[in-house]
């Protein structure tokens, strides 16, 4: 007994010490490796004790029980897959831009709040959610979240959850596209390299379709060479007096380019553009994450951001609102991400070879994503806070030249000289880094810092910066393309409940209409974000966070219902605790976003401020005309309506969940709807 637990006790001591260093340092800079050490210790202990407790005692996993892959094995959709291979599959599917962006934005409160939330959130909520949904789907033939909700909570709850999921998808696509716009605006080098991926992907598509079908490794290597060439060549393009301006786009131009691109990409055959770019972005993502981990360990940089800033009380320039509840929705992916419920009930449960593999894949892969989030937070925190705030504050706060930006950031309490900002922009080969909001450029500067420390020194900084931008833009664009397709099918399914002919996924007209509706929906929010006075991320990211966490709450409520139905009531706290926390955070954040009297936080207060000014005939900045005033008011009301919709969805599901739990309690036997094997008792 002692021998079994002694190494873990030692690990706990190391982790506790590292956390103490992280949490108690005041005044002097600490090394990033303390955070990394604390995170790894917490994750390992969380896995060894909590995940295995859930597996053995709460779920009662049974390694002998055949999984869908074994029972229904067809060599195609249902394939018993090696554990490590499936781990890679699952991790590649869950890790996207979210865990990289949220923590960067959260760094405005200092590195400590974000770190603690990621560590506690993933162990107690995020990984539990992924694991539970994988478990539930695995015992139900690998069905999807919507179907699972329908099975365990009824038809109405399932439909409501589907509508919620579609709206969340729309917001995710809009906010992801907005990040690309923010990263590429006025950056010919970045725009060229990202544009170059389109012909590159087309060539790769033709290659894998006809020349050497299925040779993914080969074609990805060619693609990688092409990407690197595009980055190197991009510098000359940016400097050219002809091509430089041709690839310099305003945010609004990029917005329309992306909307057009999204619509076209989503109706092209998948092998031509989506699949090859998926290969590139997946391998690049895994490679970049691994390189970032190695880079942080080799460089062992000190954290220059203070542990806490004055913005924990609210009033921060990056996003509005105080630590509670807004920190907990700003970092969604990495701590707890509702979207993972869709992945955990997607392909993974159909591929799992044994129930004994579920903890590593369900819980473990999410810990890995949390580690990615920790690295992103470290990246933001190793930058000079002056640079961080100059990059992430809206132009309305900073003005547009280095002198005004440096003065504004210095006034916030983070002294910085104008020429430091100019030099930082020059180092990464950009005209300016001021108000490059959205998180991606900040992370790219941090990655350039880390990578150039390991390879190439200062001379390579500009290359690494654009490499990082390309890596982020590439997988965001892949997500936009794939998400538009997924949204299209969701929409066809939803409309199909009213107009049955819409369901036919092969039909041309319904497909085009659903695609146009889907692109139009995220395009609306993207356009709103691009024209937003506060830079868009400020407005849209919280809405995204709220919606994503609400989906997580829905998934955890489903898990709670299943535990009640399994007659495992006494362990239902495992899912009820995180559900309660998410409901508290999302409903209070949603409520504040709608009704807060502070126009910076509340949509309605903001709309009122503008409409009162409009009645007096005034035009408030940044609007330049009465028409723009009207648009801002309209957008505010749409956003408020959207938050209301999310609140209604989550509260409705909560009612269904309570009803289902009570009904399950009244029975004296389990009432789960498992497929295959006896219902676990």
């Amino acid at each position: 007994m002692i021998r079994k637990h002694a190494p873990w006790a030692l690990l706990a001591a190391i982790g506790a010490f590292a956390l103490a260093v992280v949490a108690t340092s005041r005044g002097e800079m600490i090394n990033a490796l303390w955070i990394v050490t604390a995170a790894i210790s917490v994750f390992l202990i969380g896995y060894r004790y909590y995940a295995l407790f859930i597996a053995r005692t709460v779920m009662r996993l049974d390694g002998a029980r055949p999984t869908p892959a074994v029972r229904r094995g067809d060599g195609l959709d249902y394939v018993p897959t090696e554990r490590s291979v499936l781990f890679g599959h699952h991790f590649a599917a869950i890790a996207g831009a979210g865990p990289l962006v949220g923590p960067v934005l959260a760094a405005q409160m200092g590195y400590l709040p974000g770190t603690l939330w990621i560590l506690a959130g993933v162990v107690l909520a995020g990984a539990v959610q992924d694991f539970m949904i994988l478990f539930i789907s695995m015992r139900r033939d690998g069905r999807s979240l919507g179907e699972l909700v329908r099975m365990e909570m009824g038809m109405a709850a399932g439909t409501i959850a589907l509508i919620g999921a579609f709206m969340i998808m729309v917001i995710i696509l809009a906010v992801l596209a907005l990040i690309v716009v923010k990263a590429l605006a006025e950056s010919p080098w970045g725009s060229f390299t990202v544009a170059a991926t389109v012909p590159l992907a087309l060539m790769m598509g033709v290659y894998t379709r006809w020349i050497r079908p299925g040779r993914i490794g080969e074609v990805s290597l060619f693609g990688l060479v092409g990407l690197i060439a595009a980055i190197i060549f991009g510098q000359s393009v940016a400097q050219s007096s002809v091509w430089g301006p041709a690839f310099t786009f305003t945010p609004l131009q990029l917005c329309w380019i992306l909307i057009g691109y999204g619509g076209i990409a989503a109706i092209l055959p998948v092998w031509l553009l989506l699949a090859p770019r998926d290969y590139l972005s997946t391998f690049l993502k895994i490679g970049a994450i691994a390189a970032l981990a190695i880079g942080i360990v080799v460089m062992a940089p000190p954290l220059r951001m203070p542990p806490l800033t004055q913005f924990i009380g609210g009033g921060g320039p990056v996003w509005s609102g105080g630590l509670f509840p807004f920190l907990f929705i700003t970092i969604a992916c990495g701590a707890v991400s509702g979207f993972h419920a869709l992945i955990s009930s997607g392909t993974t449960p159909k591929l799992i070879a044994s129930e004994d593999h579920a903890p590593v894949i369900g819980y473990g892969a999410m810990l890995m994503e949390a580690f990615v989030a920790i690295m992103a937070l470290v990246g933001a925190a190793i930058l000079d806070p002056g640079i961080y705030f100059a990059m992430n504050s809206p132009a309305a706060v900073l003005g547009s030249d280095p002198a005004s930006a440096a003065a504004a950031v210095t006034a916030m309490g983070f002294p910085i000289a104008p020429d430091v900002l100019t030099q930082a922009a020059k180092d990464v080969g950009e005209a300016t880094i001021i108000s490059r909001t959205g998180g991606a450029p900040t992370l790219a500067v941090a990655m350039a810092e880390i990578f150039s420390h390991v390879i190439g020194g200062n001379a390579m900084k500009a290359f690494w910066y654009h490499f990082a931008i390309l890596f982020e833009a590439l997988f965001i664009l892949t997500a936009v393309d794939a998400g538009t397709r997924a949204g299209r099918f969701m929409l066809q399914d939803l409309i199909g409940t009213v107009v049955p002919s819409f369901r036919d996924s092969g039909a041309m007209v319904p497909g085009l209409i659903a695609t146009a509706l889907c692109v139009g929906a995220w395009g609306f929010f993207l356009h709103q974000g691009v024209t937003d006075p506060l830079g868009g991320v400020n407005t849209l990211w919280p809405v995204f966070g709220i919606s994503n966490q609400m989906l997580a709450a829905i998934a955890l409520m489903l898990a709670t219902v299943v535990l009640f139905r399994m007659k495992q009531d006494r362990y239902a706290w495992v899912t009820m605790l995180p559900t309660a926390w998410l409901l508290i955070c999302t409903t209070s954040a949603g409520w504040l976003k709608i009704f807060s009297s502070d126009p910076k936080v509340g949509f309605l207060a903001h709309a009122t401020r503008f409409s009162e000014a409009a009645e007096r005939g005034e035009v408030l900045a940044p609007a330049k005309s009465a028409e723009q005033m009207a648009r801002i008011i309209f957008n505010d009301r749409v956003d408020a309506g959207l938050c209301t919709l999310f609140l209604v969805v989550v509260l409705a599901i909560a009612l269904f969940a309570v009803r289902s739990c009570l009904a399950a309690r009244r029975l004296d036997r389990p009432s789960v709807h498992e497929i295959g094997g006896e219902a676990a008792v």
Partner: protein, 60 residues
Amino acid sequence: MGELFGLIARTARMMVGLPDYGAYLRHMAEHHPDQAPMDRTAFFRNRQDARYRGGGGRCC
């Protein structure tokens, strides 16, 4: 060494949604010896279409 490379290759392919062709052949030989299995190209195209049918499962 060859085994490790095989594992990495299978993981990389599965990351982009392409299951093992060998496993498919074994399944067909074992359970459907009467049917001709798809060749490698047809298998690849079949899996590619399947991956993106619902959007291609990917997170934010």
